[in-house]
């Protein structure tokens, strides 16, 4: 059984896989394997921020599994809580936020939220690689790239620094860059696409097995976007990673991910295999997102934007379904309580909607 050390975290309804065995919290344990297909398992996570108007949740009772060797995509508009969720995987929620319930279990580490400070620091970079949203400024502007890689190695007690640089060189070459030149460069001497790729190198050079990419293609031009996506695919396959890609761009997720999860106002409203979810969305929000996207072929007028605006932290409805104010299918029951999760297709897909549940056979 999973031991949850803090009493503030409730067990929560376990709607996903069966409880794994043999995990001790607080210490990274190479034998601490999560049983089942998931390499990362988020369990009933709630992250709240302290505001003048009280403790408001940015992520509310989220459960999500990232299957080993798969690319999972997380889609949501700004303010949906997706970046907060990603940061929680590293237990790095910024002040004034904090985790108020739930657990984040990672293969080989146990519950990230219960790690000691030292083990947490070690896990970051060595077990989990995080690639930044603004890879534009994720490096120290005053130091050369190579030197910063060495800093990274030394911080993680890497005794073979030459091997580290060799690995970095290989990664850079794989991504089509001149390794020697890049290692000797400063951040301002690299283009946007190059910086993004260097960010990926930093995330993988210590052989992490989980990779998180937060908005990897934002702020890049279309051609560079395409090449970055290609690189992510390649790197994921070559290093047998478990990857989480976060984006507001459904197209990017559709291109890359095998599974997709849709987030709205801090909740996961729909989740399932990418192909089926995008072909046949069940939740009205997912439908709305897809309808709002104009296709390259076809009539532009067919694209209809979602009415209203996504809520921010203070305007999320406290009761009932968070989407009901913009939902074309809203019913009376939607205002009463949050919809329960419905699972279909043998547990492969889930969504949380009264109306959609009514449609399911």
């Amino acid at each position: 059984m999973v031991r949850v050390p803090r009493s503030s975290r409730s067990g929560g309804a376990d709607t996903v896989a069966a409880a794994p065995a043999g995990i001790t919290v607080g210490q990274p344990d190479a034998d601490a394997r999560l049983s089942g297909p998931a390499a990362v398992s988020v369990r009933d996570l709630t992250v709240a921020f302290s505001t003048p108007e009280g403790l408001l949740p940015a992520v509310s009772h989220v459960s999500l599994d990232l299957d080993r060797g798969q690319i999972t995509g997380l889609v949501g508009e700004s303010g949906s809580g997706k970046s907060t969720l990603a940061l929680t995987l590293l237990n790095a929620v910024p002040q004034p936020g904090r985790v108020t319930s739930g657990a984040v279990l990672i293969d080989g580490l146990g519950d990230v939220l219960g790690l000691t400070r030292r083990n947490l620091r070690r896990a970051r970079g060595a077990s989990i690689g995080y690639v930044f949203q603004a890879s534009q400024n994720s490096l120290n502007p005053l130091k050369q790239v190579g030197k910063q890689l060495l800093d990274l190695g030394r911080s993680h007690g890497e005794s073979d620094l030459r091997g580290l640089l060799r690995r970095a060189r290989t990664l850079l070459d794989d991504m089509g860059m001149d390794a020697n030149r890049v290692l000797a460069s400063f951040q301002h001497e690299l283009s946007g696409g190059m910086r993004q790729r260097v960010g990926i190198v930093f995330a993988l050079v210590l052989n992490a097995h989980v990779l998180i990419l937060d908005e990897p293609t934002t702020a890049l031009d279309m051609l560079t976007q395409a090449s970055v996506l290609e690189i992510v695919r390649k790197v994921h396959a070559e290093h047998h990673l478990t990857t989480l890609v976060i984006s507001h761009d459904v197209g990017v997720i559709g291109d890359l991910a095998q599974r997709i999860a849709v987030m709205y106002a801090g909740r996961i409203v729909e989740e399932g295999p990418t192909a089926t979810v995008l072909a046949d969305p069940r939740h009205p929000y997912t439908r709305g997102l897809l309808t709002a996207m104009p296709r390259i072929t076809g009539d532009v007028a067919l694209a209809r934007p979602l009415p209203g605006r996504p809520p921010d932290l203070t305007s999320i409805p406290r009761q009932g379904c968070v989407f009901r104010e913009r939902c074309p299918l809203a019913m009376d029951i939607c205002a009463a309580a949050e919809p329960p999760v419905t699972k279909t297709e043998g547990g492969e897909r889930r969504f949380a909607c009264y109306a959609a549940a009514g449609e399911t056979p």
Partner: protein, 330 residues
Amino acid sequence: MRLTRTLAVKLVTGVVMIWVVATATFFLVLAMPGNPALTQEAQDITHGMSPQQAAAATRAMFGFVPKAPVLDQYGTYLWQLLHFNLGVSIAEEGIPVSHIVGSAFPWTVILALFGVIFSFLIGVSLGILAAIRRNTKLGDGLTLLGAIINGVPVFVIAILLFYVFATLWAIFPQGGNVSVLETPGWNAGYIGSVVTHAMLPIVCYTLAGVGAWQLTTKSSVISVLGDDFILAAELRGLRPVTVARYVTRNAMLPLFTILAISFGLMFGGAVFIEDVFNYPGLGQLMISSIGTKDFPVLDGAFLLIIVAVIVANILADLIYPLIDPRIRRS
């Protein structure tokens, strides 16, 4: 290279500034009611010099001949300047100004330099502390203290320091730069005396500057702490020591540009500190030369101060590209 062009521009600007100031002081002397040069010349003639001798003497003193056409005078003046000839003192008959000014200069510069260094070191440390512990009692208290010290005028600090530490508790000597009992030279007694006499003035310079450094450092550190790459470093699991080093180096860089300006500000304070502590530097020289109406000395001291400030600025501009890699390679 674009870099050398910018430096050349700065160099030229510096020289132009010195020239402008020299010209301004020249015309100021001319514009004064009762042109001192003419007065001096007239006085010399009354004292029995022939007109030619008087003219020559005045020229030696002021660097130009008063009755010649203005442009001529100006030309002579500039020519003399280029030869570092600042004229001759009125009050101390016959002694070249460059001599007087030159012997006062090191006393001012050494004190000011120590003041800049100490206020920088202490101010930056306190600023980093205030930034790390911001929104706590310690951080807010430090910030408030820094703001207050920053606002207190230099002479108030000087007066209070003198009164408390030289009169009330006579720990330090009451002014002067060295005890007259010591023989000048590299001997322990002399050096010791110089040091004890220099301490209070240096403390004064330090206190005058520490507040500004603290406040600037604090805001620079806070700004860097909010930068993306610091978060990235933490998320990559870098050691706290390494992250701290990243923060410090990035926060200190913009402070460097202020270093040169603060050197200039020190000279402003020098006038007061040397007055209160009776210290024979350029500041005191300026004040005493007003009392004795010794214009060449006043001009000379002023010019020297300006040149020192401009040189410091140029040096800072030269060094900065060496430490900021973003500018170095373009």
